[in-house]
């Protein structure tokens, strides 16, 4: 990778998270590497089942059995999280690295008030007294745009709409001022009109505190407006990585091109929306060569035999393809 202005906060190297199931080994994450500096936003993009969420859970140390981190390093602030035991990881979770989940309807415990669930973060990670905790909670709720925060502290999750709940989840994630925030499809379950609001809110929160953000999504359009760099995952492998403007303007991997083409554009008129043919293959029975070959318009004999290596290109980008698209401009 090229030198970056800041020392990276997070360096992931050759991360492999595999699930040992009765049906065979599921390589959900299979050799993923990237860097992330403080205050930067990294987008992880790919279709469902592409292993995106598992990257997030691996960093959090929350991979459920039968999954486990098989190999690789997750260097966060000089420590390899992949080698920490659960007690040490517990001190990192919430305080150093926080996470936002996909579905705000189920991420909050239905039996406790949101004030209680917010305050829990402060009880776990700070020495603040009850008065100070309460004040901080009210402040935080106001910051994420919840009206009448003081009155809402005593409300239960079911009394909020989906968008408001996700604001609460963001407040919970940010209140202990983590240095890295992982947002796993944070707007997928929400109305389109709310999505943009929440993304802006997250961006503002992150910029204010110089928090690094990993934004995991299948929505390349959303991520292109937010992220500094983008990682495109397919079947657990990085197929392309690069600065987001360059990657959007001139994708080198046919899969990235396909994802970009499937975004509806208002100026396109009523023409049929292009789509990537076929579906994501069963990750337990990947084809021998490039996993994208069966769906790729450019695939040749070599693609079906030989796995393409990630090759570095100009501007700190890289792609894994035998027959890449031409770099335009």
């Amino acid at each position: 990778m090229t030198a970056q202005t800041d020392a990276p906060l997070l360096r992931v190297r050759g991360l492999k998270t595999w699930f040992h199931t009765f049906g065979g080994v599921v390589k959900a994450v299979d050799g993923v590497s990237f860097d992330l500096s403080p205050g930067k936003i990294l987008g992880i993009v790919g279709e469902s089942g592409g292993g995106k969420s598992m990257v997030g859970f691996s960093i959090m140390g929350l991979v459920d059995r039968p999954g486990r981190i098989e190999a690789g390093e997750i260097i966060f602030d000089g420590r390899d999280l992949a080698r920490l035991d659960d007690d040490a990881m517990q001190a990192v979770r919430g305080r150093q690295i926080a996470m936002i989940f996909q579905d705000p309807m189920t991420a909050l415990n239905p039996l406790y008030t949101i004030g209680n669930q917010l305050e829990e973060m402060l009880t776990l990670h700070t020495d603040l007294g009850p008065q100070a905790r309460r004040a901080r909670c009210i402040e935080m709720l106001a910051e994420v745009g919840i009206p009448q925060p003081e009155a809402r502290l005593g409300a239960y999750p079911h009394q909020f709409s989906g968008g408001m709940r996700q604001r609460v989840v963001i407040a919970i994630a940010m209140i202990a001022e983590p240095r890295l925030l992982i947002a796993d499809e944070p707007t997928t379950a929400l109305d389109v009109t709310i999505q943009a609001q929440l993304l802006r809110l997250m961006k503002a929160q992150v910029e204010q505190r110089r928090t690094a953000l990993i934004l995991i999504t299948h929505d390349l359009a959303a991520v292109s407006q937010m992220a500094d760099r983008i990682v495109v995952l397919y079947c657990g492998r990085v197929v392309e990585i690069g600065a987001s403007a360059a990657l959007i303007a001139s994708p080198r991997h046919p899969y990235t091109r396909g994802l970009l083409d499937s975004i509806p554009a208002s100026h396109q008129g009523r023409s049929r929306l292009p789509q990537i043919p076929g579906t994501v293959p069963d990750i337990r029975k990947l084809p021998p060569g490039c996993s994208f070959a069966p769906r790729c318009p450019r695939a040749a004999e070599r693609c079906r035999a030989e796995v393409p290596e990630l090759t570095a290109a100009a501007g700190g980008s890289a792609f894994a393809c035998h027959f890449p698209l031409e770099a335009s401009a």
Partner: protein, 321 residues
Amino acid sequence: MFGHLIKRFIQMIFVLWIVSVLVFVMMSFTGDPTFMMVPLDATDEQIEQARRILGLDQSHLVQYWRFLTNLLQGDFGRSFVFRQPALQLIMERLPATLEIVFLAMIMALVVAIPLGVYAGAYPQRAGSRALMAGSLIGISLPGFWLGMVLIFIFAVKLQMFPSSGRGPTEMIWGMRLSFLSWEGFRHLILPAVTLSVGTLAILMSIIRAEMMEVLRQDYIKFARAKGAANRFVLFKHGLKNALIPLITVFGLMLGDLIAFATLTETIFAWPGIGKLLVDSIYRGDRPVIVVYLMFVAFLFVVVNFLVDVAYALIDPRIKVS
């Protein structure tokens, strides 16, 4: 909430009325109590007279009406054997039963909750599998057998606990209670253990199943992502959610315990309402049986009513809707 309570209250009354009909029908078709009342060598006139006094010469409808109006006035009849109001007999023996039932319930909960949470949180571990096997055995063990085995081991062989009877009691608020003195408490232990084993086993399996379900939820993973300790996640975020379905079962269990107490009391010669019932059935003491049945039905209905209230207390989603 208030309207809901009113509705439940009306339901309670209705259920109790149905029970009164069933009890009456059962009693009317299971033999003639006249022969319990008259001497063996009674003449036909004497029998007729006894039937008239008991009101048995009238139609079933009239008899039921008298039965119901008496019930409503709190008159449950007098025991044929003890020549005392039947209700008074039940009430005198009730504290003894409640003592072993509550002690059994507490023992079951105190043991079942942590074990159930453990087995639900780590279903793969050998300890959890052993607990589930134990639970299966606990559910299957007949109480009378267990009671006799416990007497044999702890009373006869080890001589740690008395084998039967209630021991010394103390009067508190007009109730005779054993658990206040050590000697009395020692008498309580074996019957309560016998009674609690089945309940404990069932509660543990239910808590395990509920925990396994709850622990799959996103909010559990989110709580872990917050950096909370495992035990904290299990008990604060897991257990409370797992308890909601448990409360329903708890109501039914309490009823079960009172019913099973009949057997346990008989084995341990424990002078509670269960033993009174069995004795009354042997003696054909109809008024006492009637009071017992009505009383147990009443207890069931009240407990289920309280269960409903407890739901609203534990789950905020019910209070609002």
